[in-house]
């Protein structure tokens, strides 16, 4: 059984609220012991996930709701687990694979970034409606995630 989150946030699907969520997460990650760059990466991953929900899930509608839960992990080693849940139409989790980066295009970077900066990241359909992503990052592990993500890219 998962313990209840240390911090939960429910926010409206508004781009202008993203900076507040990032600030909260940078502060939490630093408190856990992550360095400046790695704390920034945690905030970046969440920012990308939220931006995708706002753009793709909610089609830029600003009055929808997003819920973020964060757990401070202490055992077996310090880290952070973040779960983000929306109420948008469900899609095949396969879309979160991320695209081939050799083809230079303006879009298609968000999912790749999330997978790259976090240790693990898992997208799924929620039980009733909406999608869920759960991501984790542990202290003192490399940010490379070749093996640990379900659909992980192999980053050279």
């Amino acid at each position: 059984m998962t313990p209840s989150p240390d911090i939960q946030m429910r926010l409206k699907s508004q781009p202008k609220l993203l900076s507040s969520v990032r600030s909260m997460l940078v502060s939490l990650a630093e408190r856990i012991g992550f360095g400046e760059i790695e704390s920034g990466h945690v905030a970046l991953a969440v920012d990308e996930a939220l931006a995708n929900i706002i753009r793709h899930g909610y089609d830029q509608r600003e009055d929808e709701s997003i819920e973020l839960s964060a757990w401070v992990i202490t055992e077996p080693s310090p880290g952070i687990r973040i779960m983000i849940e929306d109420e948008a139409p469900q899609v095949d989790p396969e879309v979160f694979k991320g695209r081939d980066l050799d083809d230079v295009q303006p879009g298609g970077l968000g999912v790749h970034i999330i997978r790259e900066v976090m240790d693990t990241c898992h997208f799924e359909r929620r039980e009733s409606k909406g999608m869920r992503v759960i991501m984790e990052k542990m202290l003192q592990t490399s940010t490379s995630n070749d093996e640990s993500t379900p659909n992980g890219h192999s980053i050279p």
Binding site: Q14, P15, K16, L18, S19, R22, I37, G40, H41, L44, D47, E48, A51, I54, R55, L101, D102, V104, Q105, P106, G107, L109, G110, H112, I113, E116, V117
Partner: protein, 115 residues
């Protein structure tokens, strides 16, 4: 808070073009304003457009996507498009997106004007 969706960008004229110096985080809330202002600059036909990112502490993929678009407009119009002054955190996202070798990126403005 409508006006807060505008990204403040300082514009400076140089010999063969223009320097755009945005300030503040560039995320989903600011990327549209960034895109509009870049498009406006390209309507003027400059040989060189330098984006000075020294005042941008944070950028996400929506900002990066806007810059990829800028690079594509530049290559169509035969202009040079140069990024300069990236802070470490911003440089890191270009590396993750494997775009650090696709863009012309210079350390500072001086090198950008000569690149």
């Amino acid at each position: 808070m409508a006006s807060n969706q505008d990204l403040p960008i300082q514009l400076d004229t140089i010999t063969d073009g223009v320097v755009m110096r945005p300030s503040g985080d560039i995320d989903l809330s600011k990327a549209p304003s960034f895109r509009t202002q870049i498009a406006e600059v390209f309507q003027e036909k400059h040989a060189r457009v330098i984006i000075d990112l020294s005042e941008v502490p944070y950028m996400d993929s929506s900002g990066v996507a806007t810059l990829v678009e800028g690079m594509q407009i530049a290559s169509r119009s035969g202009s040079k498009f140069i990024l300069s002054g990236l802070q470490e955190r911003v440089r890191s996202i270009f590396e993750i997106a494997r775009l650090d070798t696709v863009f012309t990126i210079t350390r500072d403005l001086d090198s950008a004007e000569r690149a």
